[in-house]
């Protein structure tokens, strides 16, 4: 797995040389295009991350966790991972640190540990990626993109727990 990227880069350079294209010039030209992208990205990222930090730091996240405790238990989600599932759509690094807390407390190979690992793997940071991609490109109306993403995230959580029970327990 670790060899994929070096191999890919090397064959790319060889391919360019065969076709008489200067790989260095092409690289520099492409890398220069990364700056307009980053410049557009930063203000949008600042706004989104400020909101996310406020949400998790103000106690809103903890309140929502408490609120969803019994409903989650009712539908078959281990209530210990609700906190993680609420953080998951917002922040990749934030949810990995919560995952690490859960794995240390309940054991990485326990039922709760397996469920939380699978749920993190089968979902994405939808409430971070979609606002970021859209606001960076001036899209205000996302129409059904969020609905589709949230629905597929919920499906990912439920099927994840289902497969843990089916295959691993």
């Amino acid at each position: 797995m670790t060899l994929i990227v070096p191999f890919f880069v090397l064959s790319l350079i060889l391919c360019a040389l065969i076709r008489h294209i200067d790989p260095f010039d092409a690289f520099v030209e492409g890398a220069a295009a990364a700056f307009p992208m980053l410049r557009k990205l930063l203000p949008n990222m600042a706004a989104i991350l400020a909101c996310i930090t406020l949400f998790s730091g103000s106690g809103m996240l903890d309140r929502l966790t408490a609120f969803f405790y019994s409903p989650a238990k009712f539908v078959g989600i281990p209530p210990e991972i609700v906190h993680l599932l609420l953080m998951r759509p917002l922040s990749g690094s934030g949810s990995l640190s919560i995952l690490s807390d859960i794995l240390l407390r309940y054991g990485a190979d326990s039922y709760i540990g397996l469920c939380s690992s699978v749920c993190v793997g089968s979902t994405e940071t939808i409430l971070y990626v979609i606002p970021l991609y859209c606001s960076t490109n001036g899209i205000k109306q996302t129409r059904y993109a969020l609905v589709a993403a949230i629905f597929s995230g919920l499906v990912g959580i439920f099927t994840g727990i289902f497969f843990v029970r089916l295959l691993l327990i």
Binding site: R19, M37, L41, S117, I139, A148
Partner: protein, 161 residues
């Protein structure tokens, strides 16, 4: 107040820490584009992608690179390709997400990954006896959730035509 500042602060840190890999991947992307490799990958993926996004046009290259990078677990490489794809897709959208954009966002956020590298690293660090145990259930459930994302998009497309 402190929280808001620390949030904005982390955007600077994140942007700076991402900028290195953006420069690298955008540079490599340009080599691949000049040698015609992007066009080759795009023409391979065009048929299946056309089914999902009929008006994909010239975004086929970055879209297929984004999805393949995601699949291989190269998150840092996937983001610049995703932004590039979004830039091309939203050129004449006038602030409203087209059905191609909705489908792309839904596919992008349904996380079909061969190896969830971040989770495996955390599991290893937390003393799991078998960190890779979760790979199969994760893969199966992300396939199903991606299928559901496509389905929901198709249903909405049918409704709002």
């Amino acid at each position: 107040m402190l929280l808001l500042v620390s949030g904005a602060d982390s955007s600077i840190k994140l942007c700076l820490s991402l900028s290195g890999s953006y420069l690298l991947w955008m540079g490599l992307f340009n080599i691949a584009a000049k040698t015609g490799l992007v066009e080759k990958l795009a023409s391979l993926m065009r048929r299946p992608l056309r089914l999902l996004m009929p008006g994909i046009g010239e975004a086929a290259g970055p879209v297929s690179l984004n999805l393949s990078a995601n699949f291989l677990g190269l998150g840092n490489a996937a983001t610049p390709f995703g932004l590039e794809a979004m830039r091309i897709l939203s050129k004449d959208s006038h602030g409203t997400a087209s059905r191609e954009i909705c489908m792309f966002l839904a596919l992008n956020t349904s996380a079909v990954e061969l190896l969830p590298t971040g989770v495996i690293a955390v599991r290893t660090a937390c003393g799991s006896t078998d960190p890779y145990l979760i790979v199969l259930p994760t893969f199966l459930s992300s396939i199903i959730s991606a299928f559901c994302a496509v389905l929901v998009c198709k249903i909405f497309e049918g409704m709002k035509r």
